[in-house]
């Protein structure tokens, strides 16, 4: 069977991201999974255990300052060379900022079609995408070149299939043009130990109704009790209650967790666009007419400052 290249998405702090495990699980249906690690020195070594556990038969590693010191261009160059050499059955990347950017450059280099925000991919290359804020389901196909696909996090249930991957080092041959955008600093901002927003199976979000930044502790507390990530509506972010990288909606992150909890969020289309494909939705809002209740599987009309602390207490009791 042909190789399927999975471009690994990982963080320094938490290692391999869940979407990578989803891609490996998907890749096993399409061929023989090979993981591609494009990162700083030692990245492949640190990640190989997890990648093998989910079925990577091979790991291609391109590491070091030449890769890591610049925005995505050198990564795309290395990947294009690899694709030309191994002629994979498909190339999978994460449907997140960097994955889409690498895929964008690869598509131009190879004059190859690209499909983003894919939630399922058949063996014949037919992809399923969700468009227009979850309201339209699209079947599509790359018609020139190989299936070059970015997979949306939380689309596939990752299952282990242990393998012992051999590591192959790739020569990095980035051109001067690849090195035009230099990364001079990386700054981590507080997130604590919570799961990453787009990958979390539970997301608890706060909106304008939370009232101020300090009150977001209430949202965080419920998120922690449910093992979830914290999100925020645009209104809450614009009001300075919570940082922008946690914004869920049309101009923010799209999330699709098992459980979405909306606190003090009215449910404007801007917000719904980012969360309405969540499996189960619950909402607390003092306005009985809030549109969020049209989506909610369970809604509580009431004061979130009474309902949420009581819910938190009840969860603690049951633990």
């Amino acid at each position: 069977m042909s190789e399927v290249l999975v471009v690994v998405e990982a963080t320094r702090e938490f290692g391999v991201k869940k979407v990578t495990l989803e891609m490996l699980t998907l890749a096993r249906e399409l061929g023989t999974p090979s993981a591609v690690v494009l990162g700083g020195a030692g990245a492949a070594e640190a990640l190989s255990g997890k990648l093998g556990e989910y079925g990577a038969e091979k790991i291609y590693a391109a590491e070091g300052e030449e890769i890591d010191g610049y925005l995505v261009a050198p990564k795309a160059t290395v990947l294009a060379e690899l694709v030309n050499r191994v002629q994979p059955a498909a190339v999978l990347l994460a449907s997140a900022q960097e994955g889409k950017e690498i895929a964008a450059r690869l598509a131009v280099k190879l004059d190859n079609g690209i499909l983003t925000d894919v939630v399922a991919l058949d063996a014949d290359g037919t992809a399923t995408q969700v468009a227009f804020a979850g309201s339209t389901i699209v079947k599509s196909k790359v018609t020139r070149g190989l299936p070059l696909v970015t997979l949306r996090p939380n689309s596939i249930n990752p299952t282990p299939a242990p393998a012992t991957p051999a590591v192959e080092r790739l020569t990095v041959s980035a051109t001067d043009t690849d090195k035009l955008a230099r990364v001079v600093d990386r700054v981590a901002e507080q997130k604590g130990s919570r799961p990453e927003l787009t990958e979390a199976s539970v997301v608890v979000s706060g909106g304008r109704g939370v009232g101020n930044a300090d009150n977001f502790k209430l949202v965080e507390e419920l998120a922690d009790l449910l093992g979830g990530a914290v999100g925020a509506s645009r209104a809450a972010v614009d009001s300075g209650f919570y940082p922008h990288q946690f914004q869920v909606g049309q101009t923010g992150k799209t999330v699709s967790p098992q459980l979405y909890v909306a606190l003090g969020i009215s449910g404007a289309i801007q917000h719904r666009a980012g969360m309405q494909t969540s499996k189960t939705i619950v909402a607390v809002n003092k306005d009985a007419e809030a549109p969020i209740f049209e989506l909610a599987d369970f809604g509580v009309v009431g004061d979130l400052f009474k309902v949420v602390p009581q819910a938190a207490e009840e969860i603690r009791k049951r633990k």
């Binding site: 963080t11 190859n112 339209t136 389901i137 035009l180 981590a188 449910l226 309902v307």
Partner: protein, 259 residues
Amino acid sequence: MNIVVLVKQVPDSGADRNLRTDDNTVDRGSANNVINEMDEYAIEEALKIKEAHGGEVTILTMGPDRATESIRKALSMGPDKAVHVVDDALHGSCAVATSKVLAAALGQLNADLVICGAESTDGRVQVMPHMIAERLGVAALTGARKLTVDGATLTVERQTEEGYEVVTASTPAVVSVWDTINEPRYPSFKGIMAAKKKPVQTLSLGDLGVAPTEVGFDGATSAVLEHTKRPPRSGGAKITDEGDGGVKLVEFLATEKFV
């Protein structure tokens, strides 16, 4: 500094949006079409740079005739002129072909800086800045929440999952921006009147040296096979808190095995 801002006309994300049943493209005919929201932040950033450093701001749009409405709207914020790439053969173009056309147009405009929104609200594909930069052989500084211009040196704070990266490059370059970067101005009455007289140059594929077979359905690198509307969600149980709303909420979560 010669700045070009990419502006896309999209169907209003606040209304019902559809794909056409005849050719699977975005239905622009029956929709209320507006400037892609993120592009307004790109225009604002360009105007701020012009105000601080001098230069000229040009709007570049690829789209059908009716995209003129969005071009005039963009000009009313303050840019100097616009270029509209319009050609019937463009209908049905994929992202790869679109980037080829935009790169060809940018090649004629001699821009020091290209600014665009990080993504459009219709496709949300987020690939255009890097595709264009790849074709032009220039730097792409994408996902900016802050942009600083110092002579020919550009520095951006790039929003990431973990925090942000500081990324730097020299002009010429492509920069894409998120909506945290600024607060776009509203067009003034004077701006709206002035926009009517600002020059809008139209370019065809022939003007750009791109063959019709390289774009549209003929040149597409991917195809939509079919599409269906997802049934709208229907609300479930809704209770009014009578002092036990929190407990009831947890009871629901327990039946769904979340606690």
